[in-house]
């Protein structure tokens, strides 16, 4: 089987002898190849179009100036995306800090600790979080979480006011709430990938630890966590990529204030949110539209970097395990399932 996989096209020589079939197969093969190439071309085409349409803003402020100027003011037609970029990073950072430990704990609990009967139901419940649409998270966050957590946020801000980036008056919508919603939204993907990677830990190693007289937790610490570390980190980064690009839910709860907040409980803005909010008013203003599309480009590049790193980590973790067999990496199946 190994040799067969290694042959490009994998066509055994057996049917080389049937000329009619060969012609039909050539067509079949060309069509599929054209399809694959067409996808590549389409993506490149769209990307080029984005760059062209973003050009009015990029040439006016420069790529560097656009990205790092801390000044986004529509009324003065000044577009520096730094406050948006920072807002995106803050909210995604909060999402990681809250969401990743919970996701990993969930993965460990489901894979290694929980009674077998609970496994299936718990998995489904956690992954159903991925089935709730972004706009519904936004609706819930805006109408329930923001008002209900206002008091809690204020008391947090007051209690921990001595810490940097904490304190001040809480309006309701904030980086924190956006981060919290994002944490919930990335939980299923991080958890699914972690579970998938952890389940590649060979039973051999887990049994080795148990047979040495390790408790469950010690077994997790000695055998499961070290082995799956890079895969879990990769899963967390996929979650980060998800959080960075998340739009509608964040738009509804982040407050949409185009400056860098002084505290985690201040209102802010993100790259994705600004595009949704200002897109309507910008329609007739080429510079403004260009700025929004440029913001989309920054977002695009940011997610590309994060995702490339994440994929590399996850696939490295899987290659180590599945050096043989040629199966599609487990993470891909998990990612497909939760729509990452």
């Amino acid at each position: 089987m190994e040799a067969h996989v290694a042959t490009p096209g994998g066509a055994p020589s057996i049917f080389e002898g049937a000329p009619g079939a060969r012609a039909a197969d050539r067509v079949f093969r060309s069509v599929l190849t054209a399809l694959a190439l067409g996808i590549l071309a389409l993506i490149v085409f769209f990307f080029v179009f984005l760059v062209v349409k973003a050009n009015p803003a990029l040439s006016r402020f420069g790529i560097f100036g656009f990205t790092f100027n801390n000044d986004w003011d529509v009324s003065r037609s000044t577009y520096g995306a730094w406050p948006l970029l920072v807002g995106t990073l803050i909210t995604s950072g909060i999402a990681l800090i809250i969401g990743v430990p919970v996701a990993i704990a969930t993965a460990l609990y489901i894979n290694e600790l929980c009674p077998r009967r609970l496994r299936g139901p718990l998995t489904v419940l956690v992954e159903l979080l991925a089935a709730v649409p972004s706009v519904v998270y936004g609706l819930w966050g805006f109408l329930v979480l923001v008002p209900k957590l206002k008091g809690a946020q204020q008391s947090l801000a007051d209690t921990f006011g001595f810490l940097p980036f904490v304190g001040g008056h809480v309006a309701g919508p904030s980086y924190f709430i956006a981060g919290l919603i994002l944490a919930i939204m990335i939980l299923p993907i991080v958890s699914a990938i972690s579970r998938e990677v952890m389940s590649t830990v060979p039973a051999d190693h887990k049994e080795a630890a148990l047979a040495l007289g390790a408790t469950r937790w010690e077994m997790i610490r000695t055998a499961v966590l070290p082995y799956s570390r890079s895969g879990v980190v990769g899963g967390a980064m996929l979650g980060l990529g998800r959080a960075i690009g998340e739009t509608i839910a964040v738009t509804l709860v982040v407050g949409n204030a185009p400056q860098i907040g002084k505290s985690l409980f201040d209102q802010g803005y993100t790259l994705a949110a600004v595009i949704v909010n200002e897109f309507g008013e910008a329609a007739t203003d080429r510079l403004h539209t260009g700025a929004l599309i440029a913001a989309g480009l920054v977002l695009f590049v940011l997610t590309l970097l994060v995702n490339a790193a994440a994929r590399a980590l996850v696939s490295r973790a899987e290659r180590r395990q599945r050096a043989t067999g040629g199966a599609v990496p487990a993470g891909a199946a998990a990612a497909a399932r939760v729509g990452a």
Binding site: I43, V136, R242, N307
Partner: protein, 287 residues
């Protein structure tokens, strides 16, 4: 004297503590789902009625706000078109990857791009279509079919990835058996490979549909929004996510209630699709 060594209390406590923490955090992970479903049912169930499902939103500031008929029908139509685009293309690309692309440079590049697409935020797909098709006024300005294309782009990597996973599971021995009988490759694919992977392919398709059905951002930039029911994909169309998004920000209770009702409708549609997909997936794993 007992034959067994003593396990220190500290180790046993640490173990218990770790187990407790993991169990508690798992519970924490499930709380949001329960809360969201509770709120959607609590606030949305009241909104749902035959009137709600069978009338278009009126757009009136006063009086009857109307229902979500056009949004439901719009979502169904758009998702249907998107599926018709994304599923065949996605499976085609997966077939290329599995049947011809293994170990080739082009196969590697295509797979990498599919991975890249998976990570692209949905709003960027919206911008793709906006700059590529809306601004250029290709066949009109905002239109339903453009929203469908955006959703199809979003679904494509999900379909391809999940299709690749199941296609590669079709044993090579099965392919070789058919090829050894002298069957041409396309017929082997059509008669052997695709049928044996069918359940898996349907599952992947359904999951992609579930994902696309809830997307909002790409539609805002591509489809515009309109209140009356419209089946013509070359004009602007309404959709559930966009309807919800537009209603949330309104200060009127009646519109907010409509948003909850629409959310319940949307979540119910997606959950049903997801559960069907999962049941199919489980069945295909069992056989």
């Amino acid at each position: 004297m007992t034959a067994l060594p003593v396990i220190s209390a500290r180790r046993r406590r640490t173990d218990l503590f770790a187990r407790g923490v993991f169990a508690a955090l798992t519970l924490v992970a499930i709380v949001p789902l329960v809360l969201i479903i509770y709120y959607i049912l609590d606030k949305g169930l009241g909104a749902i009625s035959w009137h709600f499902l069978s009338t278009d939103p009126t757009g009136n500031f006063l009086g009857d706000p109307g229902g979500v008929k056009s949004a439901i029908l719009g979502t169904l139509e758009i998702v249907l078109i998107a599926t018709a685009l994304a599923v065949p293309i996605g499976i085609g690309v997966a077939l290329y990857l599995v049947e011809f692309g293994r170990g080739t440079v082009l196969g590697g590049v295509v797979r990498y791009f599919v991975d890249v697409l998976t990570g692209v935020p949905s709003i960027v797909f919206g911008l793709f279509i906006y700059t590529g098709l809306v601004v250029t006024h290709t066949l009109g300005s905002f239109a339903g079919w453009k929203g469908a294309v955006a959703l199809a782009l979003l679904m494509l990597p999900v379909v391809t990835r999940s299709a690749e996973v199941v296609l590669i599971l079709v044993p090579d021995s099965l392919r070789e058996a058919a090829l050894a009988l002298g069957a041409p490759r396309w017929r082997v694919v059509a008669r052997v490979v695709l049928p044996s992977a069918l359940t898996g392919l349907i599952t992947g398709g359904l999951l992609a549909v579930a994902r696309a059905a809830g997307e909002t951002a790409p539609l805002i930039f591509t489809m515009g929004s309109t209140l009356p029911t419209n089946f013509d994909p070359f004009k602007q169309m309404n959709s559930l996510p966009v309807q919800i998004f537009n209603d949330v920000g309104q200060a009127q209770d009646r519109l907010v209630t409509r948003a909850w009702g629409a959310a319940l409708t949307l979540v119910a549609m997606i959950l049903i699709l997801t559960l069907i997909a999962r049941t199919l997936a489980r069945r295909s794993r069992l056989t």
